[in-house]
C-alpha cells in the first residue's frame, strides 16, 4: 500500500478493461478503481488501486518517455484510455470513472506530461525565465479546473516542489499540441488495434530468466575459453570443469528451477543488496528487466 505520507502526483478514478483473447473486444471490469502516479526512489510508479478492497493491484514503473496515455475514441459508450509502452507492445486499457467528463482531456495531458517530464527535467533546469512566462497561463487554466477537486496534488501545476520544477513547461507543450496529439494517435491506434496480437492485460511482465537462458542460448558461449574459465568456479563442486559439463548443467531441471526462483525474487524487488555484490547498478533491483539492463550497462562500462 502507498504510504499515507506520500502525495500522489496525480490521481483519477478509473476501472480496468480486459481484452478478450483472440478478439478486438475490450471488456470493462466493473470494479471501482483509482489510477495514481507517484514518484518513489526516482522512479515514476503508475498504480491502479481497487477502491473497494483498498488493494493495489497494479504497480508499473514508467521509465521517462516510455509510456503514453491515449484516448480510445472507438469506444463510444465509455471513456476508455490506453496506456501504451515504447519498450514493449504491452497495452493496458482503463475506463474513466470520474463523474464529470470535464477533466478527461486534462487527465490525459497531465499523465503524459508527468511521464515526459522525467526526460526533459535536465534540459529545463536552468531556464528560469522561460519557466516563469509559461507558468502563468497553464497554472490559471488548470488551477480553475483542478482546484475544486482534491484529485490533483497542488504541487504539480504550480511548480512549488523543488524536485520537479519543470512539470509546467512540458505541460504547456502538451496542452498546445493537445488536439493534434490525439489525432495522430487515433491513426496509430486504428492501425495498432487492427493488428493487436499477444496477450492483453498482462499487467506485469511475465518475463523470466528461463525464457531467455535456454540451453541453446548458452551453447555459443562455451566456445570461448575465457568465458568458460569465468564460469568454472561457479559450478557445483562435484562437477567436471569442462564446457560439456556446463552445457549439461544448463539443461537440467534444477538449473531451470534456479532461473525461475531468481526471477521471482527479482520481481519482488528485494534483491538489491544481494546484487550489489556483483557491482550492478541500482536498477538491478527492478525486476527481471531491470536486472538485465544493469548487466548490459555493466558490460558497456567494462568495455571502455
Amino acid at each position: 500500500m502507498a504510504s499515507a505520507t506520500k502525495l500522489p502526483l496525480l490521481e483519477f478514478k478509473a476501472g480496468r478493461c480486459f481484452r478478450t483473447t483472440g478478439t478486438d473486444i475490450v471488456k470493462p471490469d466493473p470494479i471501482k478503481g483509482l489510477v495514481y502516479l507517484e514518484e518513489e526512489d526516482g522512479l515514476m510508479h503508475f498504480f491502479w488501486k481497487n477502491r473497494t478492497s483498498g488493494e493495489i493491484e497494479d504497480d508499473l514503473i514508467l521509465f521517462p518517455g516510455d509510456a503514453e496515455l491515449i484516448a480510445v475514441p472507438q469506444c463510444t459508450t465509455g471513456r476508455v484510455v490506453m496506456l501504451q509502452f515504447k519498450s514493449s507492445s504491452q497495452k493496458l486499457f482503463y475506463w474513466l470513472q470520474e463523474a464529470s467528463t470535464a477533466r478527461d482531456q486534462i487527465i490525459l495531458q497531465h499523465v503524459n506530461s508527468l511521464i515526459h517530464s522525467q526526460e526533459d527535467e535536465e534540459e529545463y533546469l536552468d531556464e528560469d525565465a522561460a519557466m516563469e512566462d509559461v507558468e502563468a497561463a497553464p497554472a490559471s487554466d488548470s488551477a480553475a479546473a483542478i482546484a475544486p477537486s482534491a484529485a490533483f496534488a497542488p504541487a504539480a501545476p504550480v511548480s512549488s516542489s523543488s524536485a520537479n520544477p519543470t512539470t509546467t513547461a512540458p505541460a504547456v507543450a502538451a496542452a498546445a499540441g493537445g488536439s493534434s496529439l490525439t489525432a495522430q494517435q487515433m491513426d496509430q491506434l486504428r492501425h495498432l488495434l487492427g493488428g493487436l496480437q499477444g496477450p492483453q492485460a498482462a499487467q506485469r511482465s511475465n518475463l523470466r530468466l528461463d525464457h531467455i537462458l535456454t540451453p541453446g542460448a548458452v551453447a555459443p558461449l562455451l566456445n570461448n575459453p575465457e568465458i568458460c574459465a569465468a564460469l568454472f568456479p561457479h559450478l557445483p563442486e562435484s562437477s567436471e570443469r569442462t564446457p560439456e559439463e556446463i552445457q549439461a548443467i544448463v539443461r537440467t531441471p534444477q538449473f531451470s528451477q534456479a532461473l525461475i526462483s531468481l526471477s521471482t525474487a527479482l520481481e519482488s524487488g528485494q534483491l538489491g543488496p544481494l546484487l550489489r555484490q556483483f557491482g550492478l547498478g541500482p536498477n538491478a533491483g527492478n525486476g527481471v528487466e531491470g536486472f538485465l539492463s544493469a548487466i548490459q550497462e555493466q558490460a558497456k562500462k567494462d568495455k571502455k
Binding site: T20, T21, D24, I25, V26, K27, P28, P30, Q74, C75, T76, T77, G78, V80, W95, L193, G198, P199, A202, S205, N206, L207, R208, L209, H211, I212, L213, A217, V218, L221, I227, A230, L231, P233, H234, L235, P236, E237, S238, V250, T252, Q254, F255, Q257, A258, L259, I260, S261, T264, A265, Q270, L274, F278, L292, I295, Q296, Q298, A299, D302, K303
Partner: protein
C-alpha cells in the same frame, strides 16, 4: 532459533524423498514414483509399506463425499498427525507411513520422536513434527538452492491459490487406513489382510481424484517400498542356490530359466544403481546456489554486441506466448462454468 518454524518448499520427487528418509536415519526403504495403481505395478514393487497420493490443485474445494470411511478416534496403534504447515506436508505424509510400520528400521531419531509423541493428540503431533529441528533441517536441506526464498508459496505457481495436499494410505493391523492431515483423524477403510490392501486402494484413490473437477489438478503417486537393490540381491541369492542344487543333480547345462532370471535381476540392479547416481547428482544440483553462475553467463552474453538483446527479445516473445496460453486455458475453464457480461465493442 534462527529460522524456527520455517519450512521450505521441496520438490515432490522420489529422489528427494528417498534422500530425506535416509538422512533422517531410516534404513532399508526407498520411495518410488508410480504411474498407475494397477495390481501389476504394485506387485512388482512389493513389499510396499504405503502409498502417498499428492496433489496440487487450483479451484474450489471439492464437495465432501457422502459415504466416506469413518474416522477412527483414539486408536493407540495408529500414528496420525494433523497437518500444521503446508510446506511440511510431503514430509509429514512420508512420516505417516514410516511411523505406522511394524517392520521398517526407523533409526534413532525417529524412534525417539515416535516414543515422545505417542500420547499426543493429533494436532499436537502435527505441531511436534513442525517443531522438530532435526526433521525440519533435513527437509530444508532438500529445498531449492536459493537462500532468499522464504515464501510458503511455490514460486513456480503463477496463481496464489495453488494448494498442495498429501494423503497417505497404509495397512495397519490388517485394515487399510487413509491418513489425511487435513481431516480430524485417520479413516479406516475396513479389513484388508496381507497384501490385499494393494487391490483395495486403487478404486479409493480413483474416487478421490474424481472429486476434483473444474480446476486444474496435478498429482503424483509415490510408494514407500523396500530397498530395491536389497530385494533384487536377495532374489539373486535365492535363485543362485536353487541353480547350484539343480546343477548338482542335472549338470552344468541345466537351469536355463534360472540363469535367465539371475541375469535379468543383475540388469535391474545395474539400472537401480544408475538411478541412484542420477538422484544423488540431482540432489547436489538442488543444493547448489546457481546465482553466481547465472550472473556470469548473462555477463558473458552481454559482452558480445547485441547478443543478450536478441535473447531478451526472444524471451519476451516466449513469455507472451506462455501468458496467452494460460489466459486461453483460464477462459476455457471459465466458459465451461458459464459467464459473460457487457462488452465494449471497439468497432461500434
Amino acid at each position: 532459533m534462527a529460522d524456527s518454524g520455517n519450512w521450505c518448499l521441496i520438490e515432490s520427487d522420489p529422489g528427494v524423498f528417498t534422500g530425506l528418509i535416509k538422512d533422517i536415519g531410516v534404513s532399508g526403504v526407498q520411495v518410488e514414483e508410480i504411474y498407475s495403481i494397477d495390481k501389476e505395478t504394485l506387485e512388482d514393487l512389493k513389499p510396499v509399506h504405503g502409498l502417498i497420493f499428492l496433489f496440487k490443485w487450483q479451484g474450489r474445494d471439492p464437495a465432501s463425499a457422502t459415504n466416506q470411511a469413518p474416522i477412527e478416534h483414539d486408536n493407540p496403534d495408529v500414528f496420525f498427525a494433523q497437518q500444521v504447515i503446508q510446506n511440511a506436508c510431503a514430509t509429514q505424509a512420508i512420516l505417516s507411513v514410516l511411523l505406522n510400520s511394524r517392520t521398517i528400521e526407523l533409526g534413532e531419531e525417529l524412534t525417539n520422536f515416535k516414543g515422545f509423541v505417542s500420547d499426543f493428540p493429533a494436532e499436537l503431533k502435527g505441531h511436534a513434527i513442525s517443531n522438530s529441528d532435526v526433521i525440519r533441517a533435513v527437509h530444508n536441506s532438500f529445498s531449492r538452492s536459493d537462500p532468499f526464498i522464504n515464501e510458503m508459496n511455490d514460486p513456480t505457481s503463477k496463481e496464489k491459490e495453488d494448494l498442495f495436499h498429501f494423503i497417505a494410505y497404509t495397512p495397519i493391523n490388517g485394515c487399510l487406513y487413509e491418513l489425511d492431515g487435513l481431516q480430524e483423524g485417520p479413516r479406516n477403510h475396513g479389513p484388508a489382510p496381507g497384501d490385499s490392501w494393494l487391490e483395495k486402494v486403487g478404486p479409493i484413490i480413483q474416487e478421490r481424484m474424481a472429486r476434483y473437477e473444474g480446476g486444474e489438478i496435478r498429482f503424483n503417486l509415490m510408494a514407500v517400498v523396500d530397498d530395491r537393490i536389497k530385494v533384487y540381491q536377495e532374489k539373486v541369492a535365492a535363485y543362485e542356490s536353487q541353480l547350484k542344487a539343480l546343477q548338482e543333480k542335472e549338470g552344468a547345462e541345466a537351469g536355463a530359466w534360472l540363469k535367465g532370471e539371475i541375469e535379468n535381476l543383475q540388469g535391474d540392479i545395474t539400472k537401480e544403481e544408475a538411478k541412484r547416481e542420477k538422484q544423488a547428482r540431482e540432489n547436489k544440483l538442488r543444493r547448489h546456489n546457481f546465482i553466481p553462475l547465472i550472473y556470469e553467463i548473462l555477463k558473458g552474453l552481454a559482452q558480445e554486441e547485441g547478443k543478450l538483446e536478441g535473447l531478451i527479445e526472444e524471451g519476451r516473445t516466449r513469455a507472451k506466448a506462455e501468458a496467452e496460453n494460460a489466459k486461453q486455458r483460464k477462459a476455457a475453464a471459465a466458459a465451461a462454468s458459464g459467464g459473460g457480461s457487457d462488452d465494449v465493442d471497439m468497432y461500434e
